[in-house]
Amino acid sequence: MGAVTLAAVGGSGFAAAADYGDQDVDVSVDIAKIDNGALALTVDSESAALTEAGSTATERQFTGTLPTVTVTDTRDPEDIPEDTYWYVLGSITDFVGDDGQAPIDSAESFGWTPEITEGDPGNVSAGSPIEPGEGFVDPEILSMAYDSKIINPDGSWSASADLKLLTGADVAPGEYSATLTLSLFE
């Protein structure tokens, strides 16, 4: 109904301008649908070093920072199946010494405090902090409150974490190393 009325009003206007000539120019652009969006992970090419800070007489504490990890989702939400969730979880090996020292048990000594550095905290959360001793078993560093389809429009989320290693003061000195694995699955 409304369209008809408009046309009638416009009609009179056009009739008045008829002397000046009238040319409707069709402007259209075909932007192809992005068929190849993807759920991707971005990491910096750096390792994380733990340096001693905050040690006491009975405990030695080493802290560091996990390089920022970023998840981007450029898929068309139509292409995402219902009830799918992506997440990034961490797991860590024990710390092995370079000179035959006893390995440092990560379940007893390693912890982290993740924090979101980019992204709507209502949609994606940083995961709970793990204190050394609680056991580092598959904690999530980025986990969503809804599902992939719902939060897809946000596009990009980043997180980092403060790392902490707590050992007894009697830990054998030397260079230790461990591998922290970050996994993105959906």
């Binding site: 759920l39 390792s47 390089p67 970023t70």
Partner: protein, 358 residues
């Protein structure tokens, strides 16, 4: 073209322009989202030393594919006989700025305590479906390119029937640049599940282990307290199960459990009145996601909790005490009144007797 038609065409043009502007915004946003990580690099790289090609961030995605490229699957599911093998593909897309070599790994899959799929990390030995997958050790992908890599799943002759979970992933590992302090190498991987169902006798089963219940009384006489229940459920069969439970109420879905896994599930506290002993029926049921025709016998357990209504008893005791006090006090005062009356009457009689004598 009539005036009305011209106006309608003008309206359509505006529509189209709005649509294209909107789509343009999406394209820009997508580009921006992809460009963001590299903007973040300089700040971080500076702290680690001089910037070089090796310090560029790496962005990649991994998805199941067919020989031509990514298909629309979220993960790979195959039904194979023991001794059979099949070839699948994974597509790795390098969305970063530098050519990168990715390591390819396959390992046993499992579900974490929160129900998330993960695969064993480097250094942990796979013993099941992880060992069935053969894939190239690494693949190099140009910036902006996609590589499709085949992998074969070979089921051993003696594989047991049922669901066998595994995962496959493409990863990059960081190398330590400073030797100061303790090094944590970071292996970052993107992957997907590879679920293989070996044909044969599918026997889904579940069992309940430890059930704990705790009653928390309310401090309000007129509201019920809360009963908290948690239980361990074990997938005792050979298929993946979707678990749901109910505590004398509606059934609630709890997620999936792979064969052989045990999960501890905690129910939301339910309202319950402290009727000395509370008894409820916990029913845990399962269904087989890969085959709706298979049924799983549910497990039931009676959950009991002692819930003495201390507050109510204390209040009741208080009421009785007050009532008893009032009754006793009344009796004492009426006894006192009776005594006084007696005395008054005796007084009266004496006075009368004296008056008569006088």
């Amino acid at each position: 073209m009539g005036a009305a038609q011209r106006t309608a065409a003008h309206g359509r043009t505006e529509e189209r322009m709005k649509t294209t502007a909107f789509a343009g915004a999406i394209v820009t946003a997508a580009l921006f989202a992809l460009a963001m990580p590299s903007l973040a690099t300089p700040a971080l790289a500076a702290s680690a030393g001089s910037k070089s090609a090796a310090d560029e961030p790496v962005t990649w995605s991994v998805a199941p594919a067919d020989a031509n490229g990514p298909d629309d699957r979220s993960w790979v599911e195959s039904k194979l006989d023991a001794g059979e093998s099949t070839t699948e593909y994974l597509a790795i897309r390098n969305l970063g700025k530098t050519t990168t070599t990715f390591a390819l790994t396959a390992a046993d899959g499992y579900l974490t305590t929160t129900g998330r799929f993960n695969m064993l990390q480097a250094g942990q030995e796979s013993v099941d479906a992880g060992t069935w997958i053969t894939v190239a050790k690494e693949v190099t992908v140009k910036a902006g390119g996609t590589e499709v890599v085949p992998f074969t799943i070979t089921v051993p002759d003696n594989a047991t029937p049922g669901d066998h979970p595994a995962g496959i992933a493409a990863s990059v590992s960081t190398t330590g640049t400073t030797s100061d302090g303790t090094q944590i190498g970071v292996e970052s991987r993107v992957g997907f599940r590879v679920m293989t169902q070996v044909t044969g006798d599918l026997a889904p089963a579940l069992s309940i282990g430890r059930v704990t219940s705790e009653y928390t009384p309310s401090w309000n006489l007129f509201t019920p307290g809360k009963l908290s229940v948690s239980y361990e459920v074990t997938n005792a069969g050979n298929t993946q199960l979707s678990i749901s439970d109910s505590l004398d109420a509606e059934s609630i879905k709890r997620g999936d459990v792979f064969p052989g896994e045990t999960r501890t599930i905690s129910l939301d506290p339910v309202a319950a009145w402290p009727l000395v002993v509370i008894s409820k029926q916990l029913t845990v049921a399962g269904s087989v996601p890969s085959d709706a025709t298979l049924t799983v016998a549910p497990a039931t357990e009676t959950v009991s909790a002692i819930a003495i209504p201390w507050l109510h008893l204390a209040v009741l005791l208080g009421i009785i005490a007050v009532a008893a006090f009032l009754i006793l006090a009344r009796r004492r005062s009426s006894a006192k009144i009776a005594t006084l009356l007696e005395q008054a009457r005796a007084e009266g009689r004496r006075e009368q007797a004296e008056a008569v004598r006088g």
